[in-house]
Subunit: 121 residues, 4 copies
DNA sequence: GTGGTCTAGACCACA
DNA sequence: GTGGTCTAGACCACC
């Protein structure tokens, strides 16, 4: 099947995104314990190594911390969460502009459309 | 790859989306001839029936017309294109609001963020 | 066998160290092409994934850059090399102090011993 | 793990080093009784012959003495300890110079770096 | 042919 | 039981 028809973002990146959004959305809070690698792997039907990678990258970004034998914990302060929120929201907006421009809309038009938006559907 | 992590939208819908966006973007113009089913099937590596279905649905929506032996043609007037554009643009914006709300932003905040948007990254 | 008797630093870290030292020593220069993952894996008798990891970490540290289909290249400017040199040299000196203190030498004594050092053996 | 990445120093030499450092560090004192061969072998998970060899070499160097049926004892006077300390310390410093030169530092630079060393990291 | 990703399975240290 | 590492082998996209 052509790559056009499958979400090609690496799983570990998608997992990272899920966690980031969950944190920003308040589902995960500071000092919460993350599910063990193996458990999450079963839950999502992926290989433990893939989860491991996602967790490692999150750790590298200073969002979680691994406590050797005790599991992994959310380690991000309010400022970090705010930064994360900005980052995610920026990526969403950037994506919107990208797609809207592709169908021939100017930035000005895009802003107006959003500004006038009402949940009509 | 885990099923959880692949786009589940049916391929024919994805194909339709591609055509719609292409039309609105001006890649395909009124009276353009669409590529034959088999050609497209090969190009995208999908089953000809899938392409066939996408075409049929587009026809049902009054966007393309089949000329029996002569192939399929874009049959959509400027008003139709405008409608299509609105439809696509609305879906993009709706998606933005949906995702932004999920990370705890209010509609007002979303509108401000978009309004103040500058391509800084 | 007890862990006491084997160098336990992860292979990928050891590989990174080798490259860093080589760069600082001038063996590898800016824009030099690194050996392909698979080649290096054979050369060192390790798994390609292990080399891959070492390279990835070096990339994350801004020392090398991967050019998709063209291989990996050293991408570090003179300032970066200087920083690297400082970092490595610091680690060596720190290690010396650590070991010397363990056998009961004071920092002052250590400095004197090094200061008076002559290659007599 | 690849052979290339494990410490190749014979285990009995590593054991000797441990004893020497322990003596110099004051962990083992003159006339202390050394643990029996078998006990140490179990503790380190090595072959009793290996421990035996380490002990023999230490005996040959006049550092320990075996009392036939009564076990082995540290037999080294203060002068001997001082000599040992010098020997170990020299090996550490020599190693430092060796590594530092490899990354392009002159002896003068090395001495300055050590002289100016402060535990800042 | 190159890098990037994923899986399955193994072993280790820590406690 | 937890995280960390490594191996062997596979597939993919890119060019």
């Amino acid at each position: 099947m052509s790559k056009l028809f499958s979400e090609n973002a690496p799983i570990y990146l998608q997992l990272m995104e899920i966690f980031k959004v969950s944190i920003v959305a308040g589902v995960f809070k500071k000092d919460d314990r993350l599910p063990p690698v193996r458990e999450l792997a079963v839950q999502y039907g992926v290989n433990p190594n893939t989860v491991q990678r996602a967790y490692s990258e999150l750790e590298r970004e200073g969002i979680v911390e691994s406590e050797r034998t005790a599991g992994r914990y959310i380690r991000i302060d309010d400022e970090g969460i705010a930064r994360l929120k900005k980052e995610i929201s920026d990526s969403y907006i950037a994506k919107l502009f990208e797609r809207m421009r592709k169908i021939g809309l100017t930035d000005q038009q895009i802003k107006e459309l959003v500004s006038d938006w009402k949940e009509e559907n």
